[in-house]
């Protein structure tokens, strides 16, 4: 999964004087206030931190309240999804118009039906809603599936991702992994593998273009049918 990175940051934490006898607690409290919020300085959402206070000395700021400036290095785990990154998340809700997923347990993602490629068809099976691939019956997306999708946009305030399942290498993560393995198991020579990879890439591209073409044709049909129906009624 893309979008996660580890950074090392040089930080200065300013502590109120009342924390002078529990500096570690103060530092942890300050750092924890960064969690799950998007920070422009770090260009990402802080998910975890590991502070390492370098020295025992801290500078005292002049002013009404003599805050202590403690220097430290911290390792930070950052989440910064950018458009066209590939992310994975757990599906929590499926409806005809959208798929809702949760990434890493805290970020919500939605894939609207115009971003779900035509290959996936909405069905209700045994009372449960599911998206099934028209080409591969085993390729299903239902509540609890881990899906892989491309990022379209990221709302930094509420950490909400808008995603898309248009690309061919998106869909149910487990199915994609097992089926890609099948394709690549046949021949093990590096050159042939390279050729095959190139060929695969071409077919992928071709399929993407094809997919984009097909849905619009089908949609026109649907619209024509509806117009016909309306004409019948009036």
């Amino acid at each position: 999964m893309e979008g996660l990175k580890e950074s090392e940051a040089n930080l200065v934490v300013y502590l109120h004087p009342s924390m002078a006898n529990s500096v570690n607690d103060g530092i942890l409290r300050e750092l924890s206030s960064l969690l799950f919020t998007y920070s422009e300085t770090f260009d990402g959402v802080v998910l975890a931190y590991d502070p390492n206070v370098r020295s025992n000395l801290a500078k005292i700021l002049p002013g009404v309240h003599p805050y202590l400036g403690v220097r430290l290095k911290a390792k930070l785990l950052l989440f910064s999804p950018k458009p066209n990154m590939l992310l994975e998340g757990v599906v929590v809700k499926i409806s005809r118009q959208s798929i809702h997923a949760v990434i890493l347990g805290f970020s919500s993602a939605v894939i609207a039906d115009e971003d779900i490629r035509y290959e996936f068809k909405y069905k209700v099976k045994h009372g449960k809603e599911v998206f099934v691939s028209r080409h591969h019956k085993k390729h299903k997306i239902k509540v609890g599936t881990i899906i892989r999708f491309l990022v379209k946009s990221f709302d930094e305030e509420i950490l909400h991702i808008s995603g898309s399942l248009v690309a061919v290498h998106t869909g149910c993560a487990r199915w994609l992994d097992t089926n890609l393995e099948e394709w690549s198991q046949a021949d093990s020579t590096p050159r042939k593998r390279k050729d095959r990879d190139e060929k695969e890439q071409k077919t992928v591209d071709y399929k993407m273009m094809a997919n984009r073409d097909m849905p619009s044709l089908k949609k026109d049909d649907r619209i024509k049918k509806l117009k016909k129906k309306r004409k019948e009624h009036t």
């Binding site: 409806s95 970020s107 939605v110 609207a112």
Partner: protein, 632 residues
């Protein structure tokens, strides 16, 4: 549907008279309308907005139309734009579940869930709408206040609140960070103390539902802390002046109480009930703030009871204790809010009860703020004295800790009486004496505790040059000495004479501006509804005093005679265990006589010599009607 909403427009618009929309067709039409509105063609869009605004007395067709439109919008949320569809969104968020039947409610909450999950822009707006739906719309507040008194109003309330809370849960499943924003919104939108009582009560009910609901780990503690803050806000609005006797028309006050005592004497069930009711009504009725506080406290008590039944009381108590230390302890002489802690402790004396006492002791011994320490020891002493569920051995152990602290303190002191400098010490001594006034008899009746009591350094403290007997509140000192003499426990320095003063300059000095020398936080609760929860676990002075009357040879006034008469034949062995005084008439008696007997404030000394009530002073048990204006 039979409703023609608009004359035939261009061919793009579908007929609203179509009865046979399938779901996908409906989505398609609504989506088109929304997209068209962005382009500038707002006709159908405006019709949608108009439908959203229908709320008064909807006929079934209108209801069906509204539900259909809501369902259509639910499918089309991905086409909604926060700027271009401003008026539609405003109409949706302005709807109130209280105005509609369950069909519309269900469709509306589905739409809200869909909106919240579709884009980050709408999450806050959806949450705010749900929270503002916690209470009925203010535009028709009087209608709803009347409705909520009827069974069908309560049924409607149940329907609305259930849906709101399940919606919040569904949104939290889809947008995991929404509880964080929710708790902020709930706290910010909390009604102020001037809002009408039924609405504050419903809002707090919702907060408590959140506290015990699916999200309790995430938002529960914030809810509790906010509720305690609101209780304190209401509490401090009831001015002490409303309770204290500021006018010294004592004659009248005396007479009123004596009238009631005469009724008590006859020990008639009806008479007592009436007397008590009129007593409360005269003094407590009309104070709206007090009534709000009362209702909210009852709500909190009920919630604590259900927490206790589901085994969550300890975690809830942790939050309450934290809030107590932050706001109640530091508030200027909180009047009733502390009974929330009292009730919580009564539900679980072994854990919560002991934790509460040891926390207070810790604050007394090691906090750095003298006022907090004095306040803490006042709470602790009042709690140990008044809590029926606290075992005598625990009282003894805690008392010993206080005594040890006082002893260690005065061991190193040489100086003379100096109330201001040693105010924490004097507060501790007063606390010790107060507890012993209530518990001495029960402690002496158990040999192990009796020897423990005699081994404590109480005599050393009393006899020390710092002279707590002179500085502490005279009424307490007097009572303590009387008991000590009667039970032959401590030797009192001979120089100390029975003053007869009820108040001294010294006690005022150590009490400071806040008069912490006269602070007895767990004196009987004056809020009627709350008191019913507290009473079974409460030690009234009359219950204790009677045990001393056997030894008391001095003449009593009419009050004491009554007290004796009413306790004839009663076997009162107060060992402090949580045994309620089951006999009915005594309960009713206790309320009145206890109010008369137990004191908060000393009166002018002239009353004493006028042959008024001996022993503890009159309790100013009056809450005046509030004079603060009510909003709305």
């Amino acid at each position: 549907m039979g409703l023609e909403l608009a004359p035939k427009q261009s061919h793009v618009l579908p007929d609203m008279e179509e009865l046979s929309f399938t779901d996908s067709e409906l989505d398609y039409h609504v989506r088109n309308a929304l997209k068209a509105a962005v382009q500038g063609d707002r006709d159908f869009y405006n019709q949608l907005v108009a439908v959203m605004h229908h709320k008064e007395r909807l006929v079934p067709e209108e209801v069906a139309l509204l539900v259909t439109c809501l369902k259509g919008l639910t499918g089309a949320v991905s086409c909604m734009h926060i700027v271009h569809h401003r008026s539609l969104l405003a109409a949706i968020f302005g709807m109130s579940l209280w105005n509609y039947g369950t069909d519309v409610m269900d469709a509306l909450v589905e739409l809200l869930i869909s909106l919240a999950a579709s884009s980050g822009d709408y999450v806050d707006l959806c949450l705010e709408m749900i929270v503002s739906n916690f209470i009925p719309p203010s535009s028709s507040s009087s209608y709803f206040i009347e409705l909520l008194k009827q069974p069908r109003g309560l049924a409607m309330k149940g329907q609305v609140l259930d849906r709101l809370h399940s919606t919040l849960k569904d949104i939290a499943n889809l947008v995991p960070l929404s509880p964080l924003r929710l708790e902020k919104i709930v706290r910010d939108r909390m009604p102020n103390i001037y809002m009408k009582e039924p609405f504050i009560v419903i809002y707090v009910e919702n907060m408590l539902k959140l506290e015990s609901g699916a999200m309790h780990e995430l938002v529960g503690s914030t809810m509790l802390v906010a509720i305690m803050d609101r209780l304190i806000d209401l509490d401090v609005e009831i001015a002490w002046d409303d309770i204290l006797q500021d006018d010294f028309c004592k004659g009248i006050f005396d007479m009123e109480l004596e009238d009631l005592e005469k009724t008590d004497y006859h020990v008639q069930q009806d008479g007592d009930e009436l007397a008590r009711e009129s007593f409360i009504q005269r003094f407590l009725g009309g104070n709206l703030i007090a009534e709000k506080l009362d209702s909210l406290m009852v709500l909190t008590f009920e919630h604590l009871t259900s927490c206790s039944e589901s085994g969550r009381l300890i975690q809830v108590f942790e939050t309450l204790l934290y809030s107590f230390q932050k706001t109640v302890l530091t508030a200027y002489k909180s009047k009733f809010t502390q009974f929330v802690m009292f009730y919580a402790c009564s539900l679980d004396p072994e854990n919560c009860g002991k934790i509460f006492a040891s926390t207070l002791l810790e604050i007394f011994v090691s906090s750095i703020y003298p006022e907090w320490r004095m306040s803490a020891v006042a709470y602790l002493a009042s709690y140990l004295a008044r809590a029926k569920f606290v075992s005598v051995s625990f009282v003894g152990a805690t008392l010993e800790s206080i005594v040890n602290w006082c002893y260690d303190y005065c061991k190193d002191q040489d100086g003379d009486v100096n109330p201001r400098a040693h105010k924490v010490f004097y507060a501790g001594c007063q606390g010790i004496m107060y507890v012993l006034c209530f518990r001495m008899r029960s402690m002496l009746s158990i040999p192990r505790l009796k020897s423990q009591l005699l081994l404590m350094h109480i005599e050393n403290i009393i006899g020390h040059p710092l002279n707590p007997l002179q500085v502490c509140l005279p009424s307490i000192v007097e009572e303590f000495l009387r008991l000590a003499k009667a039970n032959h426990v401590f030797t009192v320095p001979q120089t100390f004479v029975d003053y007869g003063l009820l108040e001294s300059e010294c006690s005022r000095a150590f009490g400071g501006v806040q008069r912490l020398d006269m602070f007895f936080p767990f004196d009987p609760c004056l809020l009627r509804k709350s008191d019913r929860y507290i009473r079974p676990n409460f030690v009234y002075w009359s219950m204790v005093r009677s045990t001393y009357n056997e030894d008391d040879e001095e003449e009593g006034t009419s009050v004491e005679d009554i007290a004796d008469a009413s306790e004839n034949g009663m076997n009162i062995v107060d060992d402090g265990s949580a045994r309620s005084f089951g006999e009915g008439f005594l309960d009713l008696d206790e309320f009145d006589t206890s109010l008369n007997k137990m004191s908060i404030t000393p009166r002018d000394s002239s009353s004493k010599f006028g042959g008024g009530i001996r022993g503890f002073m009159q309790m100013p048990s009056r809450i005046r009607p509030s004079t603060s204006p009510e909003s709305l």
